[in-house]
Symmetry: C2
Subunit: 214 residues, 2 copies
């Protein structure tokens, strides 16, 4: 398999973790997002949205959208599972994952941050305030759920890392880049540290990728 | 079951369509988003994020996040299916659904549009430009995929409505409210019309709900 991606992309990071947890090897193909390489014709032929990541299977099929890729990996390579077996538990894990993937990360994506500067005319300070605002709103709700719900264990759901964790960790890493105050979220940070002690998470981190920059 | 929701919420609309397609009846509980009722203590006890919808099962379990709810319904009430059977096809449908749910809808959510006005100080015109910009970016990519990929049929994937369609239709309805020009998207609009000819879609529309306003 080939993973078309970018070291700093949170959605790429999610898929790298999933591939690692499943023990799947892949070729790493890098596109430099800040240089706009994901908008090149070559990449647009792979992914009409011009967004990373894209997973290219051995058969040449191309899958877009990080969470669609992770669900595909879960269906084709079920062991170890990234979702629990029982429907209500699966809904809890997906709900936690989507709170990040649908309500938080999209607002803080590179193209949105750029739009705040041009055409909206804001400066880097307002951009950072925007970023931290949405992290604070969503991490407060996430912290409440993770700290209060009995299903939380060493990880977001029980004692096995899964779909919610592989969304949470890249968001924490991203938040730190923007100097978000993480002290109000001790449960999130405890789970983050537990994840980063696992090689599949640590090796998927941005700074460990071949296209990493300082 | 009870659906805690709001007539105009796109994510609520998705779940109403899914319940309709599955032939499941439910009690409709309305929260007025513009009046902030989703931030009341009563609702926050049901949903820590303060976002609609929440599905409350007969057993009293509460599920958050529209797509987690739809996947739950798909697992517990598999007939008729909202996803195809084969993993690559499922990944295509989920990928189309997430292109809307993760890359488009979150940017045009009410709380984001409000933030553009306060604290960012923009007017309704800039707010509408923002809305239309993201619709144009994502609908162009979606139109390209739907018009070029052989898997597209009467609906987003083949001739049975499913997960991608129930994300697409509320987004089209929402886009029309903001006077988005839909003429560049003939395939999207053809699929939209095919969906709206189905009672489960038509009956889930905002104007058909008990809390509808003009």
């Amino acid at each position: 398999m080939k993973l078309h991606n970018y070291f700093r992309s949170s959605t790429s990071f999610r898929v790298r973790i999933a591939l690692g947890l499943k023990g799947l090897s892949y070729d790493y193909v890098a596109y430099h997002l800040r240089k706009g390489e994901q908008r090149d014709k070559v990449y647009l032929a792979l992914n009409a949205q011009g967004l990373v990541p894209t997973l290219e299977t051995e058969a040449g099929d191309r899958l877009a959208q990080s969470l669609a890729i992770v669900e595909y990996l879960e269906e084709v390579y079920p062991d170890p599972p990234l979702l629990p077996a029982e429907p209500l538990a699966r809904a809890r894990v997906r709900g936690l994952a989507y709170a990040i993937a649908c309500d938080l990360h999209p607002l803080n994506n590179l193209r949105v941050l750029k739009y705040l500067v041009d055409p909206l005319g804001h400066d880097a300070g307002t951009q950072a305030d925007w970023f931290r605002h949405w992290v604070a709103v969503e991490f407060a709700a996430m912290e409440q759920r993770l700290s209060e719900e009995p299903e939380t264990g060493r990880f977001c759901h029980g004692d096995r890392p899964g779909l919610a964790d592989l969304c949470l960790v890249p968001q924490v890493v991203n938040g730190r880049r923007f100097d978000c105050d993480m002290t109000p979220y001790p449960t999130i940070m405890r789970i983050h540290e537990a994840c980063m002690a696992i090689p599949a998470f640590a090796e998927a981190a941005p700074e460990r990728q071949p296209d990493a920059e300082g």
